[in-house]
């Protein structure tokens, strides 16, 4: 399998090299063949379902076990403590049933991966990966992931489709949907692939989502996550590096600046390595994607969208437009950017680029277009949902991102997302309710002098059009009476769309007390 991938991979890298040459010296290269791009059928079939992997060879045994379990279920239910029973019955869409099984998988995966490592780095490798596993498991247990039957199931279908189309079922993939609004996906060395809900807000078609999943699978197949950590640890444990540090330590003067130079150089090397890996994952990702039957026409657009997502000015409405729509009096000072002060020369473009983790999106797009000139396939943009269905899924994804911001007590993000959601789905009961609640929570925190425990503590941008930055600036600037008045105005105008539940009634009472 890898040999087959490799031939395509080399071909793709060749295109990239030509693109560089084309940019640099005007060399025009047109590919003439598509040879070597068919894969052999894999017999080692493996089914991956909801983040848990089953080998078909053991399916029969699993079926028997399931039958026994179903027969014994009434007895087990009776034997369970009441609290456990209650928790099972009320299990929400954020609970992961396979937590223990996944934990065991991570443990065994770690044991296996440590075995391959050099003795010098085994201990530290184990510690780092183990700590990361712990953090991830904590997040899994803390309602940070979505396991619903709509959004999560839909994304899972796309992921499984990419896996099956490429006959990669033998790999122990675990797919999760994080509730984070950051437009991102990532993979880890054990085959865990995570898609953030924010990606759904950014991407336009199912095919684009499939391309992102292909890219992450490519990272795993190319063993990038494990390689990145191993190479850094090997560097730090190398005799050369240790003797360099020792020689600096022996010196009397300028030791810190020398250490800083070494650290910076190392950071450059690591980032350069990361960028090379991203380029490689793009290459293999597109090769995997071509087997999925999705259309290739929307591929270049993904890079445009990713480029835009790096500039957080993507918005559906402006803050000012929202406030005017809600008849909330505004003040010019709330939106004015601060006067810039600097001290020292700006970081050079060269250093900024050297420290970037991903290659430039425009270059990535160019490589993809060049490769697709002769490999483009007509396919579908949607396989598992139509445009109407995806609109519904996007709304549910947005709602959940808003709830997640609320769950994390990040009321500024919650408010921002609700305002943006309100522009897309006006008079929506869920959004109106959350929006009102966020305003009351912010007012309440301000009254108790703990504003920064509910709004973002550190957010910085040079983009004067960034509406989230403007919202934060407004929240920093307005007085307590002004934020209370905002919440009141919003309530008066939208009370018919605000849920009459206890939670909301409490918000109204709280507002009255403020």
């Amino acid at each position: 399998l890898h040999e087959k991938f490799l031939s395509d991979f080399i071909l793709y890298r060749f295109f990239q090299t030509q693109t560089y040459a084309q940019q640099g010296g005007g060399f025009n290269y047109l590919p003439s063949s598509e040879s070597g791009r068919t894969y052999g059928k894999l017999t080692d079939f493996q089914m991956i379902y909801c983040g848990q992997s089953f080998n078909p060879n053991s399916c029969l045994r699993a079926f028997v076990a399931l039958l026994v379990f179903v027969l014994l279920l009434p007895c087990l239910t009776l034997a369970q403590p009441k609290s456990l029973l209650k928790s099972k019955l009320t299990r929400d869409i954020y609970g992961y049933d396979g937590l223990d099984q996944y934990k065991r998988f991570l443990d065994s995966s770690l044991k296996e991966s440590v075995r391959d490592k050099d003795k010098n780095i085994r201990k530290i490798y184990r510690e780092i990966v183990s700590a990361r596993h712990e953090g991830f498991l904590e997040e899994l247990a803390d309602s940070s992931f979505l396991f619903d039957s709509e959004v999560s199931a839909y994304l899972n279908k796309i992921f499984q489709h990419v896996v099956k189309s490429n006959q990669l079922n033998q790999y122990p993939f675990h797919f999760f949907v994080s509730r984070t609004s950051l437009s991102n996906a990532y993979c880890t060395e054990d085959g865990t692939i995570v898609c953030n809900l924010g990606l759904l807000s950014l991407l336009e078609t199912e095919s684009q989502i499939a391309l992102v999943f292909s890219h992450e699978i490519a990272h795993y197949l190319l063993k990038h996550p494990a390689q990145s950590l191993t190479s850094v640890l090997e560097k730090y444990q190398s005799d050369e590096f240790i003797s360099e540090l020792k020689s600096i330590k022996r010196e009397k003067y300028n030791t810190r600046s020398k250490l800083e130079t070494v650290a910076l150089q190392n950071a450059f090397n690591v980032r350069r390595h990361n960028r090379a890996q991203e380029t490689a994952a793009d290459s293999l990702g597109i090769i995997l994607y071509l087997k999925t039957g999705y259309s290739t026409t929307s591929i270049p657009r993904v890079f445009d969208l990713l480029d835009e997502s790096q500039e957080p000015a993507v918005f559906n409405t402006t803050l000012r437009a929202f406030l005017e729509k809600e008849n909330i009096a505004t003040n010019q000072k709330w939106f004015e950017a601060g006067k810039t002060m600097t001290f020292g020369k700006p970081v050079s473009q060269e250093i900024t680029e050297s420290l970037a983790t991903h290659p430039d999106c425009k270059k990535r797009k160019l490589y993809a277009i060049n490769y697709l000139r002769n490999t483009a396939v007509a396919g579908q943009d949607f396989k598992f949902a139509g445009e109407e269905m995806i609109a519904l899924i996007k709304k549910k994804a947005l709602d959940d991102q808003i709830l997640f911001a609320q769950h994390n007590k990040n009321m500024s993000l919650c408010l921002y997302q609700a305002i943006q959601g309100d522009a897309l789905y006006s008079n929506d009961i869920f959004i109106s309710t959350i929006l009102f609640g966020a305003l009351v929570s912010i007012a309440d925190a301000q009254k108790n002098h703990i504003l920064f425990s509910v709004i973002d503590k550190a957010y910085q941008t040079e983009d004067t059009k960034d509406e989230y930055a403007k919202l934060l600036k407004m929240l920093e600037t307005v007085s307590l009476s002004q934020i209370i008045s905002m919440a009141d105005s919003y309530y008066q105008k939208n009370k018919t769309f605000i849920m009459p539940e206890q939670r909301v009634t409490s918000n109204l009472d709280k507002l009255k007390q403020l």
């Binding site: 009397k252 003067y253 300028n254 030791t255 810190r256 600046s257 800083e260 650290a263 910076l264 950017a337 601060g338 810039t340 002060m341 600097t342 001290f343 020292g344 020369k345 700006p346 970081v347 301000q446 009254k447 002098h449 703990i450 504003l451 920064f452 709004i455 503590k457 550190a458 957010y459 910085q460 941008t461 040079e462 983009d463 004067t464 960034d466 930055a469 403007k470 934060l472 600036k473 920093e476 600037t477 007085s479 307590l480």
Partner: protein
Amino acid sequence: MKKIFIASAVILCNTKGALYGQAAQKILDGVKEVQVHNIGAIRSAGVVKGYFSFYEYDKADKHTLIYKLSLMDENLNPLGTKDITGSDKKQLLSSAYDGRNFCFKFWDNDENTIEMKVFNQQGEELASNVENTKYEPTNMNNFFYQAVDPELSVIDNGGFINYSFYPENKGFFVNYVDGTTKRKWNKAYDPGHGYKIIQPTFVGADQTIILTAVSIIGKGDNGERGGNFLLANDPKNGAEVFNVSTDGQGSFMSPISATVAGDKISVIGLMYTSPLAMTATPEGIAFVEMDRKGKVLNKVARSFDQTIGKFQALDKFKFEDKSFPFIHQISQMPDGNTVMLIEKFKSSFMGGLSLGNMVVIVLDKNYNYLQGREIQKEVGTASVGAAQVGGSYFAANNAKNHDQLDYLYSQYGEDKSSVAFSFVEREIKARKGVYSLKSFGQIKYENGKITSDKVPFKNELNEDATATWVYPAKTGYFLEANYFKKQKQLKMNFVKLNN
């Protein structure tokens, strides 16, 4: 000068200017690896523009250290870092911003020099003004008799002013430096005769004139050859434009602030019936209008009975509870009103001072009483040990110069339409018998309204803090710094006020 030990973490600063952004919390790790000499606010005409930290970074050779001077903007976003070399006795006393450049005031205890260094926003050094001085911040004699504000004063877009002492008790220097024009000068002010105390205070400036209030207590028992003066220097070369006495027959006025507008200079001062301005009890306030040559055009005086007394009865310049009014600030607002901040104080039996409530008095355009408000606070103490030497007012003046009063600082809004006075409230710890910070308070005057807010210091962020400091911050905020000895961390958080 407080020395605190904090972070050595190497911070790679993003020196690009952030148009939007804030870092409401800043955490510095690695305490005690490096000695941070100083940390403080960068101010410009009463408005906080950012923060600086100055810490030992590396050793360049046997006798020279490399310091890192790090700047942050008003939202704690890093602006940049500059390496500065010097002896291991170098300290950064103060910093200011004049709208174009930054100025840093260094004290080198080995060389006995004060240096004002000006950098532009690209971090390039534009000018430096060094002065050899015998001023020693730790010398007890200077502690009482040569008190200067360590803060730099600023001319809006026009350079920086500092005061330092002339050697051998002969007066003081006005030090000036401007980065853009590269002008620098040190002008000596020698009264030409002996004195007990001399105190220069910056009261105001524009591009063409620097105004300094000079209070002198003469050597005689009745302060002979003392008095109060308004000194004017030309920023171009330091030449004396005028030096006029602000005292009259039997009445003495110590200027505390001045504004220059067009051809006129408006001066506000405290009135005394004794020439011993710094030790005597003030009895009223005076408003003087002068031309640019120092000629008095108009003068209005109001006794405390006519102003403070209209709010609360005074008996021999004391409130009913026998406390004195200590005038911290008198501000003239764009609406024409005058706002006074007062802290009540009295001598305590232990020789120190007992600090009472804060009082705000507002006068109308004709300097008549308009409104007043008393803000309750716990009784604090100041133990300057000078009450017996020069009386209650001398002790209070010294306590103020050494930041021992509960008043912290005054701050104007960006457009000067508001003024906010900040103070702390202390409480005595039941077991240890020492004072700790209880709450931060702020009183604000804006558009004829007086509002106040108090924020308790004890919160979940500083529950286990070893020490807590307060720094001024942008309008409507203050900055709380908590030092955690165990975790070797210094955490700085902004707190938003509700007034």
